[in-house]
């Protein structure tokens, strides 16, 4: 029993109620940040640069040339291929997250422009079942890559994922081979692939397309790894080094090329593509 019980507003006086979600406490600096301010700042804390989670559609709106995005493969829908009945049924989970996020699955993909240069792009949304990769996510990313190969375009994938979608069993695992294989063909065509790792990128996503970029970018302090820290601690009974599995750790250990603040991402991509697209016809 605590002496300092949280005051309950539920069913209480209306006048004391703070409108839901007007302010957010920043996990980086502990300051209260106004929601509108956050939205205008691409969900980056104005005080400490903490990068909050960023929905796929909102990210697209900030990243690409205005009005340039054309979404593709919108009719791909997940199915409960294994008839998964566990602690929770997959079908129910899908419905719940489709309602919650307004997304059909964890990836939004399409064609868009960056400073006039056409790119094929796929973005993962962590809000949808932890950004997990099942058949739809894998198929959309594969199609985005194949579309880039066919049209001689660079491909950009922005990852945010807990890894494979367990509800789809081996179908999920095979998406790793599928996406990586599509990148092999894209690479053979000498086209650039830029992979952007955001918080968090782990498991089967890290162990496939996310770490295969010609250039790998990461958002500051993003958690990036193969196995989760808890699993590692339990398996090895070892203390984890400071900053383990952060973007900064991976930059110093040689996996990440550049750590880029969300607000600098657009200009960084434009600069990089200007170098890497030299050999392709669309750069004049």
């Amino acid at each position: 029993m605590s002496f300092f019980e949280k005051p309950s507003f539920i069913g209480g006086g209306k006048k004391k109620q703070i409108p839901n979600g007007l302010f957010v406490k920043c996990p980086g600096c502990g300051e209260l940040v106004h929601n509108l301010e956050l939205q205008e700042n691409q969900h980056v804390c104005p005080n400490c640069e903490h990068h909050f989670a960023f929905g796929a559609r909102e990210r697209l709106a900030h990243l690409l040339d205005p009005e340039s995005f054309v979404e593709t493969d919108t009719d791909l829908r997940p199915v409960d291929v294994l008839g998964f009945q566990g602690a929770a049924a997959y079908k129910e989970r899908l419905q719940k997250y489709q309602q919650k996020t307004g997304l059909v699955d964890s990836v939004v993909s399409g064609l868009g422009k960056l400073d006039g240069r056409e790119v094929s792009i796929a973005i993962m949304d962590f809000e949808f079942l932890g950004g997990s990769m099942g058949s739809v996510a894998g198929e959309k990313i594969t199609r985005a890559i194949e579309r880039a190969t066919a049209r001689q375009l660079p491909v950009i994938v922005i990852s945010a994922s807990g890894g494979a979608r367990l509800y789809e069993g081996m179908f999920s695992l095979m998406q790793m081979a599928k996406t990586s294989g599509a990148l092999a063909l894209h690479s053979q065509a000498r086209l650039p692939y830029i992979s952007i790792l955001t918080n968090p990128t782990t498991g089967g996503v890290t162990a496939s397309f996310a770490t295969l970029g010609d250039v790998i970018l990461a958002e500051p302090k993003a958690m990036i790894g193969f196995a989760g820290p808890r699993v590692i601690r339990e398996t090895t009974l070892q203390d984890l080094p400071p900053g383990f599995q952060t973007a900064e750790f991976l930059e110093s250990h040689g996996l990440v090329d550049i750590i880029v603040s969300r607000k600098k991402l657009r200009e960084t991509l434009i600069s990089l593509l200007a170098y890497l697209c030299c050999a392709t016809p669309q750069s004049v």
């Binding site: 493969d73 069993g169 095979m174 998406q175």
Partner: protein
């Protein structure tokens, strides 16, 4: 070979013990003529058939993990000859959980890469329980490229609980080492055959498994996550591993239905550990069959077909090509 019985094999063991007792009692007499002996022997046979013909997913997982099950180096000894082990990834170290080298099977000289577990504690520690580090995957890729260069087919043996979840593995980017293998195996210009001989643990298994043909032993499993891992995440407790194994459809037959494995290699009744030689013969026959089929296919066609095969995997609605 010490074949400690698994929990579900206890009824068989009990009957066998009963039979032994009875035989000892009857020593000197016409044992096999005794009606009680015959009755128990029949019951043993029936019980064995009943248990082994109705194995659950979880029971198969236990067989796949059995300490006495033939491991990669056993198959290399029994089904191959002239194995020359080649060490190291030329970058950091030699991963003992992933031996590899040159070996001959039938009329084929090939490159072999394999996960290897250990049987006793000391050997298991040396082999890291079959969990490879990035060095293992990078050595595997080095050897696969050598195979491509010299026109040798690649045979890989998959038997791992998963790639190693450790600090060093993360520091040296085990995920990247697997990802690169997935990409490069897809376009390797030489025939490739993978055999899941025991545990096909997730990305660590797939990291040497993007092959023209994927074969699996009857009781082996291949899964996106271990049943215990799935239980811990989806059921919030590892004790639900048996349910998770069932739900994830990780057995040979299901994988064949999904098109993810091309052939199931039969095991002796009760599992490969009951007869190493017979298991090795079955494996040899299957591997040779597929190598012979692949031998005639031009390299470009192999790669195109390999891509087409993996490209198909996925279950969804809609999605007509635009």
């Amino acid at each position: 070979m010490n074949t400690l019985p698994l929990e579900f094999e206890k009824p068989i063991v009990e009957l066998e013990r009963k039979l032994e007792d009875l035989k000892r009692h009857l020593h000197g007499q016409e044992v096999n003529a005794d009606p009680e002996v015959r009755r128990i022997a029949e019951r043993i046979d029936k019980t064995r058939q009943h248990i082994y013909r109705n194995l659950t997913a979880w029971q198969r997982v236990q067989i796949a993990r059995h300490q006495a099950r033939p491991y990669s180096l056993d198959y290399l000894r029994l089904a191959f000859r002239d194995f020359i082990e080649l060490h190291g990834d030329r970058l950091f170290s030699d991963d003992k959980a992933m031996p590899g080298g040159l070996a001959t099977i039938g009329e084929f000289k090939c490159v072999v890469i394999a996960h290897q577990k250990g049987r006793e504690v000391k050997e298991n520690v040396r082999r890291n329980f079959g969990s490879a580090h990035p060095e293992g995957y990078r050595k595997a890729l080095r050897l696969m490229r050598m195979a491509e260069k010299f026109g040798l087919p690649v045979v890989s043996f998959i038997d791992t609980p998963g790639a190693y979840p450790g600090v060093g593995a993360e520091e040296r980017h085990v995920s990247e080492s697997i990802a690169v293998n997935l990409r490069e195996m897809m376009i390797l210009k030489t025939p490739t055959v993978a055999v899941v001989i025991g545990e096909g643990g997730s990305g660590g298994a797939l990291g040497i498994g993007v092959s023209d043909r994927v074969l699996i032993l009857e009781n082996a499993y291949y899964s996106v996550i271990s049943p215990e891992g799935a239980a811990a995440i989806l059921w919030k407790h590892r004790q639900h591993a048996a349910e998770a194994a069932e739900a994830m459809k990780l057995g040979a037959r299901e994988l064949q239905e999904f098109g993810m494995v091309d052939e199931i290699i039969p095991e002796p009744l009760g599992g490969a550990h009951h007869d190493h030689e017979a298991s090795a013969r079955a494996l040899q026959e299957a591997v040779l069959k597929h190598l012979r089929e692949l031998r005639a296919v031009p390299a470009d066609e192999l790669v195109a077909k390999r891509y087409a095969k993996f490209r198909r995997f996925g279950a969804f609605e809609g999605g007509k090509a635009i």
